[in-house]
Symmetry: C2
Subunit: 249 residues, 2 copies
């Protein structure tokens, strides 16, 4: 499991409404779970303001350092939707009417309803590849390794399936969770020993508070099921010795 065999991605959430705290981001989790299932690991997420220079600089940095970049937000019809023009600038491409997108939206709306606001949504970087939107018509797009999706969670979700064949992932990242009725400090030392014995597997420890009781979830992540199985066994060994109650295995 060297670094070279991993396929990685960054997620870029574009939107003042997340930074103001008004809206809670849920797209990170949606995209990350989907990417894991096709063998892509999310290395980094950034949430930035709706400001062109910031979008351009951040996209240009992320697309060099990651195999894929997924942006969310800013592709609607209003003045604060500036993702498409910013991506055009980042790639030094013309920002222009995308003929295929125009045809799609012309067909989607009733005659007379494809107004100026809606027409803004077909302006894209030249030769962008469309990402079809089965929910609300207006497509996303990708330029090279940068995939631009909408911010509305239900619409974004509906568009991921259609992307699958454009993303070349590695082995799916498998995970296994063991939940215990204990506190982190009781298992910290044993867990460190297990991590030291299983260096190429990721072990996370997460306290939880559920139905009035404290617990800890241990999450094992690897591309290799046999490594997860071996590590689980080592964890059960110390759990049994310490007589810790297992909530979920």
């Amino acid at each position: 499991m060297t670094k070279n065999t991993k396929v990685n991605a960054a997620i870029l959430i574009i939107g003042n409404e997340i930074l103001s705290g008004r809206t809670q981001d849920t797209n990170t989790s949606t995209i990350a779970l989907w990417l894991n299932s096709i063998g892509v690991k999310v290395n980094e997420v950034r949430i930035i303001l709706d400001v062109e220079d910031i979008i351009v600089d951040t996209v240009n940095q992320l697309r060099k350092n990651n195999d894929y970049v997924f942006t969310t937000g800013g592709i609607g019809p209003t003045h604060d939707d500036i993702t498409a023009q910013s991506i055009s600038k980042a790639f030094n491409l013309e920002y222009e009417i995308h003929k295929e997108a125009f045809k799609i939206l012309e067909g989607y709306y009733k005659i007379g309803e494809f107004n100026e606001g809606r027409q803004k949504m077909v302006w894209m970087p030249r030769n962008a590849n469309l990402i079809l939107n089965p929910t609300s018509g207006a497509p996303g797009f990708n330029v090279e390794n940068v995939f631009c999706l909408p911010g509305v969670p239900s619409i974004l979700k509906s568009m991921l399936g259609g992307l699958q064949n454009r993303i070349v992932g590695g082995k799916p990242i498998l995970s296994h969770t063991i939940s215990l009725r204990t506190v982190e400090s009781e298992i910290a030392k044993s867990l460190t020993d297990v991590q030291n014995d299983n260096k190429d597997l990721e072990i996370g420890s997460y306290p939880f508070f559920q139905a009035g009781k404290l617990g800890v979830s241990i999450v094992l992540r690897s591309e290799d099921q046999s490594k997860i199985d071996k590590c689980s066994q080592e964890i059960f060994n110390f759990i049994n010795k310490k007589k810790i109650e297992i909530v979920d295995r």
Copy 2:
């Protein structure tokens, strides 16, 4: 409202569990809403892996570009909690036992229960200022403008109040939301005109889908209530002309 009068912050979420999609981050929203109330604007959020070099580099970049940096996660007792040691490295400070934190936890736990795992939580950068934790004992800390908080949302929330007198904010950022029964494309042009007429006020437009009906929330943000009032009036003017139903004002 020039850039100089603004006080800004970055939030740094440290944790593989957010990047894997397993856990949804809620701390961004909690911290951002609290910061807004004391006149600090969040400019940027980053979510990064539990990897020392990445934490060190990111902290050093963010603390130079922002008045304040708030980190969440990685200050517990387990092997994957490496925030305190990473912050020590970022500031080139010794990573050592913090005497005051030691006393607090020694008093918090029953005799014999302040074990090795728990003692890890009192290792901090030399001379760090503690952030008291009324929920579970183990304090956070700050070094200069970098404030380190835990990842567990309920504990983090309980610690923010005690921080208030250490953060010097500007004027509180006020916001007003107008929710309409319409779609974005119907109001996009009028809203652009209003934004052009009110350049120093932030206008966001956010579609929603509630109880089976589509709508749009227009969010106005400024430090100046009179600017929000003026802008609201301009919005009501075009809403009335267009005979759009108001859901909430």
